[in-house]
Symmetry: C2
Subunit: 219 residues, 2 copies
């Protein structure tokens, strides 16, 4: 178990180093040697966790998906929570910022930047299908199309917020997006129960820190 904890710690250090090197040098110019030097780990340790530079980039992009807000009474609240928690993490975790930055960088070549988008779309679609099964959705809602629209909108709003004010208002902007979109998705009865306030992400993050989930430890 201590060995597993060390492995998780090493993997994390490598990702932090890779994110920093990608950020400073750009993905195309970055080299594994630089990432090794920055992480202060052996070549063997790095290749134990990641097989290539592309694999490292996929690992970094994956970090944004690594959050599991608590189960809620409605699936639509869980959908809202995914967005609010990511907005909060983007403001407070450099590695999450690097993760999203890499996915949004149109200049990156030789890397499938569609991977995190597809993963987010799948996750949101899954939540929307569950919401549909529980009768939370308006009858005309197409879960896949809705998931795609939400993933795309979120990603642009965070870039805009970053360009305009270093993401200071990101919680507010995602709250606004949800207030516009949810009335076109949710039944009125569920809509009135949803907490889409701009400080929702902060409260979710505090709750997760108070009682750490098991999710990280099983990785």
């Amino acid at each position: 178990m201590a060995q597993q904890a060390r492995a998780i710690q090493t993997r994390r250090s490598i990702l932090v180093a890779a994110a920093a090197v990608f950020d400073e040098r750009g993905y195309s110019s970055a080299t594994i040697s630089e990432i090794l030097a920055r992480a202060g780990v052996t070549k063997g340790a790095l290749y134990f966790h990641f097989s290539s530079k592309e694999d490292l980039a996929l690992g970094v992009m994956d970090v944004q998906l690594d959050s599991n807000p608590r189960p809620q009474l409605t699936k639509l609240q869980e959908l809202v929570d995914q967005g609010m928690l990511l907005a909060y993490r983007l403001r407070h975790e450099p590695l999450v910022r690097a993760s999203v930055g890499l996915a949004m960088d149109q200049a990156v070549e030789g890397l499938d930047r569609g991977t995190p988008f597809r993963a987010w779309i799948d996750r949101l679609e899954h939540l929307l299908n569950a919401a549909k099964d529980q009768g939370e959705l308006l009858p005309h809602v197409d879960p896949r199309e809705t998931a795609e629209m939400l993933a795309g909108s979120f990603s642009g709003i965070q870039v805009m917020s970053q360009a305009l004010c270093r993401r200071e208002d990101l919680g507010h902007r995602i709250s606004v997006l949800l207030h516009f979109v949810l009335p076109s998705i949710s039944t009125p009865a569920v809509l009135t129960t949803l907490d889409m306030a701009e400080d929702r992400g902060e409260r979710l993050s505090e709750a997760l820190e108070a009682v750490p989930s098991q999710a990280g430890a099983t990785d």
Copy 2:
């Protein structure tokens, strides 16, 4: 008049060259000498139009705003048309792609990427205020907040569409966004009149080409 037309042509050639150099080398590494060589114009001609590399980048970012769809019966249709026409131009004009790419590039330093976002927000807010004056908006709608949400969402959806399928489905995805958001903005009476079909941008572009507007000639 011929002289003015030549000046417009020269300015355009410089922007095309600058966009290509920014795209290939990245904004930070690009030099004015490279842009000069690519454009095949004299240093004097370049500095007549642009005072610095940053000014060139602002000129490139400005291109995305350079479209004027025809006036429509409702201001909300004009709002829709701005989005549908930009989606079409992104698919068919390399310079528009470069313009948006530069604004979305989080790795760019020393350039205020907020400029095109603010310009889009102002334009959409202006349309929404006009729509409000004409009684087209639901009473609770805040024009500024709505304009920000639309500008941000659009920008992310185009990055996602680019990452997933080289923007092939961009017209469809922007149509989906508008179908989700407009019911939270528009009165029911205006909503039923709106054309938000995914081929709207193509039809608008064809109409503009058939009878060129005066907008370009006054620049």
